[in-house]
Amino acid sequence: MSTASFPLPRWIDYAVLPLLNLMLAFLVSGLVVWIIGENPIEALKLMLNGALGRGEGIGFTLFYATNFIFTGLSVAVAYHAGLFNIGSEGQAYLGGLGAALVALALDHYVPWYVTMPFAILGAAAFGGLWALIPAWLQAKRGSHIVITTIMFNFIGAALMVYLLVNVMIVPGKMAPESRTFLEGGQLPKLDWLMAMFGLKLGPAPFNVSFLIALVMCFLVWVLIWRTKLGFEMRTLGLSRSAAAYAGIPYTKIVIITMLISGGLAGMMALNPVLGASARLQVEFVGGAGFVGIAVSLMGRNHPIGIIIAAILFGVLYQGGAELSFDMPNITREMIVVIQGLVVLFAGALEYMFRPALVRVYQQFTKG
C-alpha cells in the first residue's frame, strides 16, 4: 500500500485536507495581491467583511451560493454515474426559459406558491431535455458527453439570444429580455429567515430558491445512496464492466442520469429569474454552470460538501465584488484569478498534501 491509498480518518480527509488546500490557495492569492501593490491582509478583511459582514452581504453570498448548489448537484449526479456534465451552464440557461414561460403564463392568475411548483417542473423539464440529446448521443452513438455538452452550451446560448431578441422581447423596448413578471410569478425573498438571526436583508435577492436547493440536496442524497437507481448509477460510474455483468442497462441509466442532472441545472434558473430579476434576461447564468463543476469537485460530490463549497464560492463572488469596489487595483479579473486559484488547489490538486499528512498521521499513531 502506498501513501496514496493509505486510509486516513474521515475528519482528516474531509476537513483538514480541504482546509489546508484552501489556506494555500489564499496564501498564493495573497502573494498575487501583494505583487500588485495592495495589502493582502487588508484585502482579505475587505472581502470577508463584504461577504459576511452585514445582512445584505450575507444575502448576496447565499444568493450566489444557491446558484452554485443547483449546478454543483447537477454535476455531482452525473459524476456518480461516471458522466462529466460540462453542460450545466446551457441546461440552466434553457431551464430559465421553462421557468419564465410558466411565470408568464400564470402570474396574472395565481399567487406565487401556486406558480412555484409548476416553475420548478418547467425549469427541470427544459434543463433535462437540453441534456437529453447529449445523453442519447453518448448512450447510443458513443459521442463523448464532455464534447457534446460543451457544444450544447453554445447552441443553448444562441437559441436563447434568438428567442429573447426576436420572440420574447417587449415590443418597443431595446433590452433583450421578457416582460417583468407580476407578483404571482416571483419567488419571495427570505427576509424572515434573516430576521430570525437579527439580520437585515436589504436589497439582496436572497429568496425561496435557497430552500428549494436545500430540499434538492436531501433528495439527491436519497437518490444516490438510498435508492436502487442510485446504486445502479454508482455501479456504472465506478465500473462499466461490473455494471454490464450485473445487468444494469447502460443506455437507460445514462439517459435517466442526464435527465436528472440537466433538471437540477435547469432549476438553478429559478433563483435569478423568478427570485431576483423577475424577468428572463440574456446571460443570466453568468458562469454558474462552470462554477458548479468546481463546487462539485471540492464538495466531493456529496450534497453536504456541495453546500459548503457553494457558500465558499458565494463568499468569493460577493466578497470579490466588494473588494474590487474598495481596492480599484484589484479588478474583476483579479477576483477571477483568485477563484481560479481556489479551484486549482482545492479541486485539481486536492490530494497534494495527502502523502505528507499520511506521514504525519503515521508518526502520531506510532508514538
Binding site: R226, T227, Y245, A246
Partner: protein, 506 residues
C-alpha cells in the same frame, strides 16, 4: 576460481519492508547459490512480489542489506538492478507489441542517435545468445504475431542481452500451455547449466518440484522454510505455505446427471472487431454434473461465458436454459430465471472494488425487494444479509462495511462465490474460480462448487488451470481457436489434454 565466483549470487540479509500498518517483508534472510534455480513459493499477499520488487529496485527496503555476487549493492531503481546483472521477466510482458523482436531487444540500448550500428550489434548478440542458450526466435518477427510462449522468450532474451546473471521470473507459466511451460523449464535448465542464476516465483507447487534446486516458502511476509527440492514433498510445501494441513485433492463422489439444464446450439460469437471468437459451438450441461472447459486463455472461453450469461450478444446460434430460448436475454433477466455467474475477472466484473462489502454482496440482485421496498435500498437490510454470508463463507475480516479493495484476493472471491451460490440457482456458470486465490480459499471454493453440483444444479466451469478442470469436472470439453475440439473424461492424461489445447491433436 577466485573467492568472488564462489560467493552466492544473491544474499539478502535482514530485509524489512513496511507499507503503513502492513508488514510486507519481515527480516528476510535468503541466500541463492550461483548457477542454481531457486523457487519462491507462497500464497497471494505472502510478500513474494514485494521482495522481488525490492531486489529489482521498484521499492527500497526499510532495513537490510542486498549482496550481489558477494558485493553489497544498493538498488535504487531498475537501472541499478540491470547494472548489477539482474533481469526480470514480468507476469505481464513489457514488450512493444508492434515492434520486431530485434527492436524490442534494443529498446533502451539503442546505441546512439542512428539505429544502424545498434541494430547490427544487437543482431550479432542475438545470434550468440541463441547459440549459447538454445533460445531460437526470428529476430524480424513482429512481437504481437508471436505465440505467448515465444513472447516470453523475447523477454528472457531482453534480460540476457542486457547482461543479466540473475533472472527473476514472476509467475511465468500462467499464460502458457503445458507444452510451452515444459519448454520454458528446459530453457531455464540450460541457463542454469551455463552458470546463470534463476529465481522463480510461483504459487504452483508442481512447477517448483519440476524445475527448482532449492525452494523458499513465504508466509505473511516471512520466509518460513528453505528446503532442497529433492528433500521435500508437495504436501510439506503446501502445509508450510498455508500453515496447516490442506487437502490438495478435491473430495467428490460420482456425478448423477439428470435432465439437460443448459443447451448451447451452433453458437457463434464475434468480438467488436468482427473476429470470430466462438465458432459454431454446441454442448449440453445436465443437472447434477460439472462440465469443465479446458483451454489456453484467449481461445474463446471468455466470450462463450459472456454470451451464455447475457453480457455479450451472440452473433448466431441458440442457447436454451431448461428448454427456454434465452439468447438475447440480458444478465438481469437470466438471473431471474436461475442463472448465477461467477465471472472470470472479479476485479472488473464481479466486484466494484470501491464499494463496501455489503454492496457487492447484492450486486446484480439489488433490485430484489429483500433489500428495500420499491425504489429504495435499506443499508441495514443489506448489511444484515451480508453478515449471514460472511459467517457462512468465513469471509475475513468479517466486516460488511469494509471497502472491498481492502479484502485479500481469496476473500474477495468468496464474496462473489457466496453471492452467486447462495441464490440457489439452477445453473452456475463459473469462470476461473480460483485465479489469484490462496490455497486455503481454493479448497473452500472447490468444495462449494461440488456441493452445488450435488444439490442437483448444473455447473459449467471454465479454467485455464488444467489441474482444476481435471479435479472438478465430470466431463471435459477442450476449446481451441473458438471451437470445441473434443470431449474427454477427467481421467484423461494431462499430455493428451495439453496437445488438444495446443490444437495439435483432437
Amino acid at each position: 576460481m577466485n573467492e568472488k565466483s564462489q560467493a552466492p549470487a544473491i544474499e539478502l540479509v535482514g530485509i524489512d519492508k513496511k507499507f503503513g500498518a502492513v508488514h510486507a517483508n519481515k527480516n528476510i534472510n535468503l541466500t541463492v547459490a550461483k548457477g542454481s534455480i531457486h523457487g519462491i513459493i507462497g500464497e497471494n499477499g505472502a510478500g513474494k512480489s514485494t521482495l522481488m520488487s525490492i531486489l529489482y529496485g521498484f521499492y527500497q527496503a526499510d532495513q537490510g542489506t542486498i549482496r550481489i555476487a558477494g558485493e553489497t549493492t544498493t538498488i535504487k531503481d531498475s537501472q541499478a538492478a540491470i547494472a548489477a546483472g539482474i533481469g526480470m521477466v514480468h507476469q505481464h510482458f513489457m514488450l512493444v507489441e508492434n515492434f520486431t523482436v530485434l527492436e524490442n531487444l534494443m529498446l533502451g540500448a539503442e546505441g546512439g542517435a542512428l539505429l544502424a550500428k545498434g541494430t547490427d550489434a544487437a543482431r550479432a548478440a542475438l545470434k550468440k545468445l541463441e547459440e549459447d542458450y538454445e533460445l531460437e526466435v526470428d529476430p524480424d518477427a513482429i512481437v504481437e504475431e508471436l505465440p505467448v510462449g515465444l513472447q516470453q522468450r523475447v523477454e528472457i532474451l531482453k534480460a540476457m542481452y542486457r547482461g543479466a546473471e540473475i533472472l527473476i521470473l514472476d509467475e511465468p507459466t500462467g499464460v502458457l500451455t503445458p507444452a510451452e511451460a515444459d519448454h520454458l523449464f528446459k530453457i531455464l535448465g540450460v541457463l542454469r547449466d551455463q552458470g546463470k542464476t534463476v529465481l522463480l516465483i510461483t504459487h504452483k507447487l508442481r512447477e517448483i518440484m519440476a524445475i527448482t534446486d532449492t525452494v523458499s516458502v513465504m508466509r505473511r511476509g516471512e520466509i518460513v522454510a528453505t528446503r532442497k527440492t529433492s528433500e521435500t514433498t508437495v504436501e510439506e510445501l503446501a502445509e508450510l505455505m498455508v500453515g496447516r494441513r490442506v487437502l490438495l485433492q478435491v473430495d467428490k463422489g460420482a456425478a448423477n446427471p439428470g435432465e439437460v439444464y443448459l443447451s448451447v446450439r451452433n453458437l457463434t460469437v464475434k468480438d467488436g472487431r468482427g473476429v470470430t471468437m466462438v465458432d459454431n459451438v454446441s454442448f449440453d450441461v445436465r443437472a447434477g454434473e460439472i462440465v469443465g472447459i479446458a483451454g489456453v486463455a484467449g481461445n474463446g472461453q471468455s466470450e462463450l461465458l459472456e454470451a451464455i450469461t447475457g453480457i455479450r450478444k451472440p452473433t448466431s446460434g441458440e442457447i436454451f436454459i431448461c428448454g427456454e430460448p434465452v439468447a438475447g436475454y440480458d444478465p438481469a433477466k437470466l438471473r431471474s430465471i436461475g442463472v448465477a455467474h461467477i465471472p472470470e475477472d472479479r476485479h472488473h466484473m464481479g466486484l466494484v472494488l470501491s464499494f463496501e462489502e455489503s454492496q457487492n454482496a447484492i450486486l446484480g440482485y439489488h433490485r430484489d425487494d429483500k433489500y428495500g421496498k420499491g425504489p429504495f435500498l435499506a443499508p441495514d437490510l443489506i448489511r444484515q444479509a451480508a453478515t449471514v454470508d460472511i459467517e457462512k463463507y468465513d469471509i475475513r475480516p468479517p466486516n460488511p462495511r469494509l471497502k472491498t479493495a481492502n479484502f485479500s484476493g481469496g476473500n474477495q472471491q468468496k464474496i462473489v462465490v457466496a453471492r452467486e451460490i447462495e441464490r440457489d440457482p439452477k445453473l452456475l456458470i463459473v469462470g476461473q474460480p480460483t485465479r489469484g486465490v490462496d490455497i486455503g480459499a481454493i479448497e473452500f471454493i472447490h468444495k462449494r462448487i461440488v456441493e452445488t453440483r450435488d444439490a442437483g444444479k448444473a455447473v459449467l466451469l471454465v479454467s485455464v488451470e488444467l489441474d482444476e478442470i481435471r479435479s472438478l469436472s465430470d466431463r471435459i470439453l477442450v476449446m481451441f481457436a473458438g471451437k470445441v475440439v473434443g470431449e474427454k473424461t477427467p481421467d484423461t492424461g494431462e499430455q493428451t489434454l495439453g496437445l488438444m489445447m495446443a490444437g495439435i491433436a483432437a
